[in-house]
Amino acid sequence: MTKKPWISLGGIGVFAVLLLAVAPLVLTDHWLNNLGKYCCWAIAAVGIGLAWGRGGMLVMGQGVFFALGAYSMAMHLTLETAGDRIPAFMVLYDPLAPLPAFWEPFRGAGFTLAAIVLLPVVVAGALGYALFKRRVKGAYFAILSQALAVALAVLISSTIRETGGDTGLSDFKYFFGFVLNDPANRQMVYLIAAGLLIVCLLAVWQFYRSRFGELLIATRDAEERVRFLGYDPANVKLVAFVVSALMASIGGALFVPIVGIITPAEIGAAASILMIAGVALGGRASLFGPALGAIAVGWGQSSLGSTWPDGWTYVLGLLFIVVILFLPNGLSSLPARFTGRARRTPVEQPTPAIAAAELEGVRS
């Protein structure tokens, strides 16, 4: 991959043409909107690929950052729809109380966009700093991140007047001045999501080529050695974690205008694990794997979940088992398997390297 950068770049180009030009022409409004939703998950998945595939941090709580972006956006759109009034759902629970103070700044479009970018950076930065400096890793990190997602989902569910609770926030009429019901505007929102997915792919492509990308893989495979070489692995992991959080937040923010609703269920344990499913399927350490896997899982849920709902749950369960058991590097490792060892790049030799790092995480 490092030797032939233009191949990857060309792949991103083809992907961009497919998403930005072909899809809007061939898909119905309904399926284009669904594809937009998958793109949001794909954006988060690209970040998970970076943190987990390259950095070895199993981020099982990306729902937290997805929520930061999604709820920032949803609060802005709710206020935009409500105008001068208090949002309808708040009237239901306490008609006399004012708008909660933390909602007020989200009236501003600029503040909202800044929050979508800065909130995950600050939260992931603080959290990552605390955890990585204390060398919390492996299963501990995974369980802690998942527990955080669960805690946030419960918190949102229980603060019903402040956040809409379990019902979530929905029924948005406008998107930064554009009428959301207009098909042309919905297409625009889709294009923004697809475009940002391409940007994120470009960003990780750049990361992987850089010296930082090499350091990240080195940290994943042999954290102690990286430390002995004079680097602080905590800082390396922190950067990857913050970037992945930022991507999850962007995905969440775009999920809101595309799907039209955000609820705690989209950020809790099951949702966070579903985000991982796509990454595992596509190939955690590859460039395209996470995004394509997330789109595939999303599509499977929409189509197979429709025709055969009981079956879809089994398929999803089997997908975890079969892929992780037999194809730890996902479907994207298949071509390399067929063409033999010679063309395998070091990163795609998964088993022993990843194992060493993880065993260390569990046992030390």
């Binding site: 309808a88 609770g165 379990d166 019902t167 009429k173 625009m188 609703i261």
Partner: protein, 432 residues
């Protein structure tokens, strides 16, 4: 390092370009304040195919996830009603061809599937939903696409939509009768226990307003998340408050934990009875004998003696996917399909506007298992009898109280002076 930052800057530039390009591409869309915006939905032309000898309907229930424990039965009873109607000649001579969708206990999925049913499958109407959250997710979509949604579960009221028909009770048909029953029993103190979501929170807000009017004192209010079974700490507070009665708005399997903790704390139906609005014939068996002797407020009970109830019970027991007992939400789902039948027959068409116009005449009725219900064409709810039942050892309900007549639906509680007019106005404003 400098080369990296240069590349990064290129990336940012690329991102900005993509975004602006996307905006420019679609710059022709409507903006806030445009004329089209004021009109709200520019409803797409309906794609419902009425030319063949079948008509497509959509059933939208959670068949997977946490709510599947309740919604599977509703889905099955809808299938039974469709089979019955088909055996009797169908809708306007067309056989029902249903598309079953899974809401997966996920509200965005409810929204997505509603859109799919209306725009891809082109169904004439959708039946289903259980939680208020699922209904609130469906509402904007059916309103945008001018579809029809029939919702079969009792709920918190304060809502109406030209695109939704509510066949379960609104508050003045379930909660207010329950409060009247408590007042008639001379209850002075009441404790509110509920799951932490929209229905219990809103229902309890209404209960508190009405209790003040009735002179009943609310001595406590507790909520536990929907998916959590442990109620011991909260029940300890109930035991300490020693209320005359407990008003239970808990939903789902959390009820089982609540009843067990109640029993353990030494509370008994003789001294501190519970009145529930979510425990029916379906739920009671999972709680074992510990729930016996407590009360529930519903419109329909399996034990009701009406002309049509025996046939309903019999057909359900004979149905292959039967759960054996009938319950209020099942019966309301059963009503919903027959109500739609009456509506399209009155309208002579499957067209949404024609159906709504037929409803406006206020002549749509159905001989339901709970009695003859009438549709209110303005608020799209139906009239219902109020009943209070007491759970017996067979997990059936002995009817201990009934409203003297069918209660007209009043979702915004306009006929109740204790409900503050300014709240009503704010809510209708926000909805309109």
């Amino acid at each position: 390092m400098s080369s990296t930052s240069k590349r990064l800057r290129k990336l940012v530039a690329a991102g900005a370009t993509v975004t602006t390009a996307a905006l420019a591409l679609a710059g022709c869309g409507a903006r806030a304040g445009d004329d089209t915006a004021g009109a709200g939905s520019s409803a797409a032309a309906s794609c419902v195919d009425t030319s063949g000898d079948t008509i497509k309907l959509g059933f939208l229930n959670s068949l997977t996830g946490g709510m599947a424990i309740s919604e599977k039965t509703v889905s099955n009873v809808l299938h039974m009603a469709a089979d019955e109607i088909n055996a009797g000649g169908g809708l306007l001579g067309k056989k029902i061809e249903y598309v079953q969708e899974d809401g997966a206990t996920d509200w965005p999925t409810f929204a997505e599937k509603t859109e799919k049913l209306l725009t891809q499958d082109c169904v004439a109407a959708i039946f289903g939903g259980w939680t208020s959250s699922s209904r609130k997710a469906v509402k904007p979509v059916v309103e945008k696409l001018n579809g029809l949604f029939f919702y079969p579960v009792q709920y918190e009221g304060l809502e109406s939509s030209p695109n939704i028909y509510y066949t379960g009770a609104t508050t003045n048909q379930q909660i207010i009768p329950a409060m009247d029953f408590l007042a008639s029993k001379g209850v002075k103190t009441l404790f509110l226990a509920g799951s932490d979501y929209v229905f219990p929170r809103t229902a309890n807000a209404i209960i508190k307003l009405y209790a003040a009017k009735l002179g009943i004192k609310i001595v406590g209010e507790e909520y536990v998340p929907l998916d959590k079974d442990d109620w011991t700490s909260q029940v300890a507070k109930i035991a300490a408050a020693k209320p005359d009665f407990i008003f239970n708005t808990i939903n789902g399997s959390s009820n089982v934990g609540f009843i067990k903790a109640y029993y353990d704390a030494g509370l008994t139906p003789a001294k501190t009875p519970i009145i529930s609005v979510s425990i029916a014939e379906e739920e009671a068996p999972a709680m074992g004998h510990e729930v016996t002797g407590n009360y529930a407020s519903w419109n329909y009970f399996q034990s009701l003696k009406t002309a049509t109830n025996p046939k309903f019970i019999q057909s359900w027991k004979a149905y292959p996917k039967s759960s054996g007992v009938t319950s209020d939400p099942m019966e309301a789902a059963y009503i919903s399909l027959y109500l739609y039948k009456a509506l399209v027959e009155a309208a002579g068409s499957f067209d949404v506007n024609a159906v709504n116009a037929a409803a406006k005449k206020n002549t749509i009725t159905f001989d339901a298992p709970e009695g003859k219900v009438t549709l209110d064409g303005e608020n799209h709810h139906i009239s219902k009898p109020g009943h209070i039942g007491r759970i017996n050892a067979d997990n059936q309900f002995d009817i201990v109280w009934a409203s003297d007549k069918f209660i007209e639906p009043d979702p915004y509680l306009e006929g109740y002076d204790w409900f503050p007019a300014d709240i009503r106005k704010q809510l209708t404003d926000a909805a309109g």
